[in-house]
Amino acid sequence: MAAGHHVFLVDDDAALGEMYSLGLEAEGLRVTVLVDAMDLNERVAAEDPDIVVLDWELPGIRGDQALERLRRSDEGRGIPVLMLSNFSGTRNGVIDRVFASGAIAWLEKVNTSPSQLASKLREVLANPVV
């Protein structure tokens, strides 16, 4: 049990951010919700989360761009990242690109309940091989 693990959840939809954070906290995880990824690198450097859950459509900087930027920073190079999105446009290239940048999974929000997200996070945190 990864009790006390710190999760960064980046989602600009307040209602969804709140639901997932309620669900993850009920599973014993500590959650920080970020409404955009503009200062993700700085926040990661400052708060040193154990794992990042990134939406794809975000204001300012898209999830895949935020991931690439995170991978170029010292603090963010090794951190596990999961994509969680309802993005339903054309995926040609986008998903490949996030996996190439080292995303561990691409989860669809509509098919991922908070407890399913929690078990996926626990699975990743238990096997910290990126």
Binding site: M19, V110, S113, S115
Partner: protein
């Protein structure tokens, strides 16, 4: 008929012609080479010259037929000896004394040593051919008359340089010039200046000269300067030797057909665009529904798993109620669009006070919560219309929803209800993002969202304003907008007012 090759026979032709030779239309007879006396004579010869076989046999052909050769007879006979054949025109006499012009094809018969024995003459009456030619030219004349009377087609001739040399009724009707005004001028006068500059007339003639024909469509100019869409065929005319004599040009005014085709093309373009917009809309609508669905599913799972603390439930239930309402609005909009497109949108009209409808909608928005301050900032006391209460409520709710979506959190939203002559109106005013002037025409287009950076994050499907305007129009009213970028927007719904009962 090909000239007879000399037969390598030892005896002359029989004086009794073969049945087949007798059947021939042409005059065929033989004469001895040395004496030039006639040795056989067919029916064709009897017909052509009027002399019977009995009369002709043994006579000297040259004397009987008083032949006038195009060259001395000795020369002709020299050629016969050299090549075995001769062809030429000879003027001869009929038994009656009438002159006839005859086309002669002669062949030489020799013995086994090559010595000339006899000449076979096959002669045909050229006067007959001349009559045929005359008949032909009168038919050409009639054809010419026919062409000149054609009204639907401009049919005229050009010389090899493109100068107009003939003109018909149709040309006058289509192009506006009389024959005396246009014959002698160059045909490029029918082209628009830009086409003349692009050398289109020259290129059309070059193509016709090279390939035999030029076909094309394009704008042409009438004498009065108006334009018509022409279908043009230019055909190169060549004489027997193959040298270019000029061009025949047939022009038809197909402006009506062209315009119809343009209309169809525009329509097809519009439909393609609509189809594309609809596909895009389906993406947006699916995305719009997925957000609330995710919440309902997620919270439902948490309820099942007992992971939701009871004290949070009322707040979450209220939030979910709002999300369900949002989904319901979208589904209703889709149904309304479908009804509109199939013309099944029915209005249940009743006497409605717009003040009441606006207050009701403001109340609903406040009930859901949110940070914006919404108020009825001005009112005429009452504004009575004869309208479908639910649909007008939807229009006002959409306008308020838009004002909230496109305003900063906490931004003020004002509603005004009023009377203006015979109109009752509702204005919804925000201090939000505003709309760029170039985007105003797109605002009420169905399935179309404005292509702005902000719209990438603000939910929407491009249905609401189209629907609102259609509902307004079906009530005999209108929905208009007044907006300034970065200052805010004001949408005004106008409906025909009903005078209040005294």
């Amino acid at each position: 008929m090909t000239p007879h090759r000399p037969a390598k026979a030892t005896s002359g032709f029989s004086s009794e012609p073969h049945e087949l030779i007798d059947m021939a239309f042409d005059a065929m007879f033989t004469r001895s080479f040395d004496e030039r006396t006639i040795t056989s004579w067919n029916r064709g010869a009897e017909r052509l010259y009027g002399w019977t076989r009995t009369e002709a046999l043994g006579k000297r052909a040259t004397q009987l037929l008083c032949s006038e050769y195009p060259m001395p007879l000795e020369q002709i006979e020299e050629r016969l000896k050299a090549s075995g054949e001769w062809e030429g025109q000879v003027v001869q006499c009929h038994k009656s004394g009438r002159q006839i012009t005859v086309n002669c094809r002669w062949g030489l018969q020799t013995d086994s040593t090559g010595r000339p024995l006899a000449i076979l003459e096959i002669n045909s009456d050229l006067s007959l051919q001349r009559q045929t030619t005359a008949r032909l030219s009168s038919s050409e004349e009639r054809f010419g008359l026919l062409v000149s009377a054609v009204l639907e087609y401009a049919i005229f001739m050009l010389d090899p340089k493109g100068t107009i040399v003939s003109w018909n009724e149709g040309a006058q009707r289509i192009k506006g010039y009389r024959a005396d005004e246009i014959i002698g001028r160059h045909f490029s006068v029918f082209y628009a200046p830009e086409d003349r500059a692009a050398k289109k007339p020259t290129r059309a003639l070059q193509k016709a000269e090279r390939d035999g024909q030029f076909k094309g469509e394009g704008w042409r100019v009438r004498k009065d300067g108006t334009r018509f869409w022409a279908s043009v065929v230019i055909t190169a005319l060549r004489d027997e030797s193959g040298s270019l004599r000029g061009f025949a040009k047939v022009t038809r005014d197909i402006t009506d057909r062209h315009q119809e085709e343009e209309r169809l093309r525009d329509y097809a373009r519009e439909m393609t665009e609509l189809e594309r917009a609809k596909t895009h809309f389906l993406d947006l609508a699916a995305h719009e529904l997925r957000g609330p669905l995710t919440l309902i599913r997620g919270y439902n799972t948490m309820l099942e798993e007992g992971k939701l603390r009871p004290e949070r439930v009322p707040e979450i239930a209220k939030m979910l109620q709002g999300k369900l309402e949002q989904m319901n609005i979208l589904v209703e909009q889709m149904l309304d669009i479908s009804r509109l497109e199939s013309d099944r949108l029915e209005l249940n009209r009743e006497t409605v006070d717009l003040v009441e409808v606006v207050e009701e909608q403001i109340g609903k928005v406040r009930a859901i919560g949110g940070t914006n301050h919404i108020a009825l900032t001005g009112s005429a006391g009452s504004a009575i219309v004869n309208a479908d209460r639910a649909r007008i409520g939807t229009v006002i709710s959409n306008l308020i929803d838009n004002a909230i979506k496109y305003s900063p959190a906490g931004g003020e939203i004002g509603c005004i209800v009023g009377r203006d002559d015979s109109w009752a109106y509702v204005s919804v005013r925000d201090k939000g993002l505003g709309i760029a002037p170039e985007h105003i025409p797109l605002l009420f287009k169905r399935y179309t969202r404005l292509p702005t950076e902000a719209n990438k994050r603000i939910r929407g499907t491009g249905l609401a304003l189209y629907l609102c305007r259609e509902i307004a129009r079906r009530h005999g009213g209108e929905l208009t907008v007044n907006s300034k970028l970065a200052k805010g927007s004001e949408f005004t719904l106008k409906l025909p007012a009903v005078n209040e009962p005294a």
